[in-house]
Subunit: 105 residues, 2 copies
């Protein structure tokens, strides 16, 4: 478990993450859009995704992705950053995230 920069929010350990968690986390087009943008452009702060949803809704989506083991969040200055855990997840569920993202928006 990393210390320091992950301390602000809790993240499930890889061995705690179930298939169900991953599927629930990805069963939403806004959340898949977040994952795609992180894949394409790397880590970025919550406020910079340019998605047409309210801040509170977006906050809910980031939380769902975090609880589902899809992203890690860490604080950098005043910004909450997001980074993908898909390399980690691929060890446990090879190809799952890619298959879901390939299935459509």
């Amino acid at each position: 478990m990393p210390f320091g920069r992950w301390a602000a929010v809790s993240h499930p350990e890889l061995d705690e993450i179930t298939v169900d968690d991953v599927l629930h986390a990805l069963a939403d087009p806004t959340r898949r859009a977040i994952v795609r943008l992180l894949q394409a452009e790397g880590d970025r702060p919550c406020g910079t995704f340019g998605l047409p949803v309210a801040a509170s809704t977006l906050s809910h989506h980031f939380r769902a992705l975090r609880k589902g083991g899809i992203i890690r969040q860490y604080d950098e200055g005043r910004q909450r950053m997001n980074t993908l855990r898909t390399d980690e997840l691929d060890k446990k569920f090879p190809g799952l995230v890619a298959a879901v993202l390939a299935a459509g928006n």
Copy 2:
């Protein structure tokens, strides 16, 4: 839309089924067990899956699979039969169901 033997319950058309529907339907180990048994042994009636859950719970799971486009149900005599729609789904979401089932129980 087939007539007759599908008439007892409603099923979404293929073009109505979303990625989210499929993921929600498969985000449960009992529902994945139902799909696996249908894949392995073909169509079978609701009461013959041998799963350790209450009849009302099982009924909920069949409904979730039906609404998510994973199975079709039809009545045969007094039995409600279940058949997979995964060939159909694969045309719309190639490899998605297989990837989810491969990810774990």
